[in-house]
Symmetry: C3
Subunit: 342 residues, 3 copies
């Protein structure tokens, strides 16, 4: 592909030195592994040294870094090289395109509404009154339940289960194995510890536009009201959202996060992998959490929050745990010392 | 639906004021969102204030709260309003019913035994010698492996995998994506770090009656003996039970819990989300664990157990971790002070 | 089965007392539950006492333990009884064998290459240019994506998704619900918190030989380069490997571990359940981590690493957390005491 054509994926046009437009570009590559025919990017000053010996044909960089670009490489000046890389990367995307057909081995209920240019792969099941908008792609083995609604250009990888009445917006991606609309974990205890009476989960899951959800996630439907994921939210693999959770606009959740029932996460929040949020709390906009955070209370202010003790050699760790368990006595000893000195 | 009919789902009858029986009820709603035609419930005194302005047609409450019910709302007095809500909620359940048919696109092995009024959805696979009891519902894309047994009225959501010889009791619910009967993680190390020799996992998973299991869980079969889940157990999403785990009657496991091999959880226990249990320990009946608990030893007494440091602003947290790492020196300094004072 | 025949699964031959060769063996059993017709093993001195009353017909044990074997039991002397058990256990494996057929309800793309003696179960989907080597077994409902390569004797349980261009070696086992080749969690932030621009994930997942992967795992493809799992690695259920992770030879990962992007785990490492590894770190060969470890830095030396505070009764725990939060003041008080004494 000509460089000029590659760059058409950027939202704003860039100027190129004469002759550079027709350079052939075959792939993206990191600075230290690029070859002729590659395009690369300098996203952080700490990789600047790799520019010197870089073999790429073109590099995305900021105005400030332009002077560090070797002469033989075409410098493409952009405001945000990492974002530019994100835009351009899709030019080289190897993900197979949907066929824009309905596979003969898909089961589509006669009452379902399927727009033009929808592709539905083998063994997908589309149930009664489902509504799938134009250019959506339904992977093999997906289940699109009763009265589910899927927006335009949304893609489901193989093996996604969208249970009844789930609503997914436009331009979303839902990855393999993810289940949306499972029952919330709602039970009333029977008298005398006899067991549990389930509570019917009658809410929906409502997902906005431009939402991306990873593989093998589980997102429960609300009990009475809906579970809600707002526009531009991104969610990694194996994340669990309980019933009536609300995720604010453009928030980002890393792998294996769990959020208990009725918790509301604000807009533009992020949380690291394996973080856990207790139920019925509110997290303020722009709150950020490091990995494995144990979030037991809401936040009212933007900021970075953390918990946990990082791993150490086990001998050191064991001593530390023993010390912590004797903290009580240490406080008492210091109390006693203070009294004696007085 | 008439109120009288709605209330028939309660295990004991309730008395209604004259004329109230034929009130039309359309939905359940929380106190603060209920409209005419809704039924609501007052499960805790902390919501009592919402009663005043509540628009519901009827409210479930205790005898003690009856006097706080506005005149225009029908007060339905029950022992446990939350449990009553749980019973009644199913009157409004919107989950599609199975068709009580075997879909023509299901593959059912000729040696499988399928009772009357079983529904099997599209693309389900029922393997040799499987046995499915009456009124069971097998969702689309489920795999019911060789010699699997499924009790009456048990429902599998789409995409459940029950591997060979798994036994599921009656009145169970297993949600989408869950795998039961996967191989336990059993390996013997080869000499000199060359790798691992797997151990055949020949036990089964045996699940009692009235058990509910969430989405995308994994429950491994036993190595020699069985993995066992007793009656009335409820399990949330993404839970991992290793081989030969035993879960006692009516225990409740929240999302993303992991229980390592051969651990036994007693009856009427509960554990919060993301808790982890080490292998080969015994947890006493009525033991409860808060979320993210790190359970490294068994318990011999009922009670509530916890671990972990709740999240704080990262600056505070970093200082705290640094302090903890210097605890050793603090103990030494206090030792020295005590000696000096003596 | 005759004992002699059972023992043929061992890599080296063992000598048996005369007459023992034709003893009938029906099953493996633990020492304390074995009956006539069972074979058992003594893997650790702590079970030695169970030998006395053991009813097994034969027991695997070391030379050192031979004298403790009751007369009526055939003692089979091996170097490593647990490893011997692992080898022999497969003689009693009840896992159904694949049919060595392609099920008529499988969809196989005409450009896919299927070797001899491959079995493909019902509703499997094999996409364009996939390549499946001899004796591989593809379970029901598996998706083998475009240009995926699967080595000889590799088995996929039902419901596995291998997305485009994934490479799996020979003699591997991949369990139900696992997704390999999902998109890495790569996004560039849009200006002003507007949301996220996804980065195309164009790398592959490349898996070596004799790798075993549990149920409902997610293994993301690399962004530019590949995610790599080397030979003999074993991985338990619900494990999440992010893009560009590398797992060294013969390492073992327990259930619900998460490893963030671009982290490299060395050879012969192990980690306990629910451990979490931050991104872009390197873990030295022979590093081991206890369960729930919070691994925020790489290791340069072999050894055992830990973190976390084990669960305690909640009253004790609450006091401990309160004490830890006051550590700062305790340090100050000790500072003050030291000054006063000087």
């Amino acid at each position: 592909v000509h460089l000029k054509q590659v760059l058409q994926a950027l939202p704003t046009s860039v100027s190129l030195p004469s002759g550079a437009e027709s350079i052939e570009i075959e792939a993206f590559a990191p600075l230290d592994q690029a070859k002729a025919g590659s395009i690369s990017f300098l996203a952080s000053a700490k990789y600047r040294r790799q520019l010197e010996s870089c073999q790429a044909s073109a590099v995305l960089l900021t105005e400030k870094e332009r002077e560090n670009c070797p002469e033989q490489i075409v410098a493409i000046v952009v405001d945000d090289p990492y974002l530019a890389y994100a835009y351009l990367s899709h030019q080289f995307d190897k993900t197979p395109k949907g066929s824009q057909n309905i596979h003969p081995m898909a089961v589509v209920h006669p009452t379902a509404t399927i727009a033009d240019q929808v592709s539905i792969d083998a063994y997908a099941v589309i149930e009664a009154n489902a509504d799938i908008a134009e250019h959506a792609h339904i992977g093999a083995h997906c289940v699109v339940g009763e009265a589910v609604s899927i927006g335009a250009h949304t893609r489901l990888q193989p093996n996604v289960s969208l249970l009844h009445r789930v609503v997914v917006g436009a331009h979303c991606l839902i990855q393999s194995g993810t289940v949306i609309g499972s029952n919330g974990f709602g039970y009333a205890p029977l008298p005398n510890g006899a067991g549990w009476q389930s509570i019917a989960q009658n809410g929906r899951v409502v997902i906005g536009d431009h939402v991306e959800i990873g593989a093998n996630c589980t997102i429960d439907r609300g009990a009475i009201e809906d579970t809600i994921i707002n526009d531009q939210v991104i969610i990694d693999n194996l994340v669990h959202l309980a019933h009536n959770v609300v995720i604010g606009r453009a928030s980002a959740l890393a792998g294996q996060i769990g959020i208990a029932g009725s918790t509301t996460i604000g807009a533009n929040c992020s949380a690291g992998g394996q973080s856990g949020f207790t139920g019925h709390i509110n997290i303020a906009d722009n709150s950020h959490f490091t990995g494995q955070a144990m979030v037991t209370k809401g936040t009212t202010e933007a900021g970075l929050y953390s918990s946990g003790l990082p791993a150490q050699p086990s001998g050191v760790w064991r001593k530390m745990v023993a010390r912590i368990r004797k903290l009580d006595t240490l406080f008492e000893r210091v109390d006693a010392l203070e009294k004696q000195i007085k």
